[in-house]
């Protein structure tokens, strides 16, 4: 037992929805006495689920970047755009700010999210006692910023809708778009499955 009082250490359960703290029942499944939500001391199978979603996302990340997210066919031939070539196109055509923005949302954010989640899950598994506050902050950050990776999906949506049957060109969504959307969804599930309280469960183990 250590000095910092935690809910789990006192046999209490906190409701994740309405925040009510209640005493854990002796046996059986716990439900929040105020709102009826299922109560868990820690998110169930947190690490297993996080890894499962994360590994699936990592696998899907390959086709998401290799396959074209958009095919543009015009009189001058067909151009296939991947996530990266889209960024390069924006950069070479002079939209530097926009290129940086899309690069951040589509390349930096998903990569950072997967790396950070792997570090978090791995460090919890190795019962690391270091940098707990920083790790918690990293978790908060990736949860907040993850949604912005959807940017490219919306760009493709609008381009496809507008330039579908016009005379000068037609744009179609490529298979990379579905894979990329899958990566975003899977990493969101992975982040939601991870329980940051696990980072702090080693409190008192440091010598």
């Amino acid at each position: 037992m250590n000095a910092a009082p935690t809910a789990a250490g006192h046999g209490l359960l906190a409701c994740a929805v309405c925040r009510l703290v209640s005493r854990a029942p002796q046996s059986g499944d716990a439900h929040c006495p105020r709102c009826g939500a299922a109560l868990h001391a820690r998110k169930p199978a947190s690490l297993a689920r996080t890894w499962a979603f994360l590994i699936a996302a990592m696998i899907l990340y390959v086709p998401a970047n290799v396959l074209p997210i958009m095919d543009t066919s015009s009189l001058f031939g067909t151009q296939r755009d991947t996530i990266l070539s889209g960024v390069v196109f924006l950069w070479t055509s002079g939209s530097f700010i926009l290129a940086a923005l899309v690069f951040f949302a589509s390349v930096v954010v998903p990569l950072a999210k997967m790396i950070v989640l792997a570090i978090l899950a791995g460090s919890v598994q190795m019962r690391s006692v270091k940098h707990r506050r920083i790790r918690t902050r990293l978790y908060r950050m990736i949860e907040f910023v993850g949604r912005w990776s959807m940017l490219d999906i919306y760009v493709v949506t609008i381009l496809v809708a507008l330039v579908q049957v016009s005379t000068f060109a037609s744009i179609h969504a490529g298979p990379g778009a579905a894979a990329f959307g899958g990566v975003v969804v899977l990493t969101m599930f992975a982040a939601a499955s991870f329980d940051p309280r696990l980072i702090w469960d080693t409190q008192g183990e440091e010598s």
Binding site: I158, L162, A177
Partner: protein, 203 residues
């Protein structure tokens, strides 16, 4: 035994005793810095209702009018959000179409309707039917509403298209921009703690 309310940090599980805060103040976890609770102003749920209703109107406008128009060689094309989802679906990109529909239409609509439902019920001082499941629902779908990302996506595609054709932002784009602000303001004003406390007394 003294009567005080306990609150546990959802990010590090540390227990805290709730202390009264100054209006507008918020309490953070002493160990990890996560937000614990806040003291909203007494009329904040009234403001949340007004903002949610305004957002509802903007949501309807945003979905009726075209988002962007495009003019190439004298032909004009424009698309609404529905039209965009439909063309994705029709050309076979069904997974992407579903993802776009859920994140820009279904979740924001459900969240707004749910929020208005709960706030109106609480205003009438009733426990009401479905209030608790609705609050659970709002909480669980929240991360999937991505109107603000969508607005940025439209702006990026406008710049991309501006190289090859003349584009004009449509009424719906401005509505989506305003909607984004309204939804954020309503969510910020909504005082869930007060809602739960009120539901507890009605039971």
């Amino acid at each position: 035994m003294p009567e005080y309310k306990l609150i546990a940090c959802l990010e590090c599980d540390l227990l805290h005793r709730q202390v009264p805060l100054a209006p507008g103040g918020e309490a953070r976890c002493t160990r990890c810095g996560a937000r614990l609770y806040r003291r909203a102003s007494p009329d904040s749920n009234q403001r949340a209702l007004a903002l949610a209703l305004a957002a509802c109107i903007l949501f309807i406008i945003a979905n009726i009018y075209p988002i962007v128009g495009l003019e190439v060689q004298g032909t004009h094309t424009s698309s609404t959000l529905f039209g965009a989802v439909k063309s994705l679906w029709e050309e076979g990109a069904r997974a992407v179409a579903t993802l776009v529909f859920v994140t820009t239409f279904f979740v924001p609509a459900a969240e707004l309707i749910g929020l208005i439902w709960v706030l109106v019920t609480l205003r009438r001082g009733a426990r009401g039917w479905g209030t608790v499941p609705m609050l659970h629902f709002i909480e669980s779908v929240k991360p999937w509403g991505m109107v603000e990302v969508f607005v940025l996506g439209v702006l990026v595609s406008l710049v991309k298209l501006a190289h090859v054709a003349s584009v004009e932002p449509g009424v719906a784009l401005f509505s989506f921009g305003a909607l984004m602000a309204m939804v954020a303001a309503a969510a910020a004003a909504f005082d869930a703690d007060a809602a739960w406390a009120q539901l507890e007394t009605i039971r």
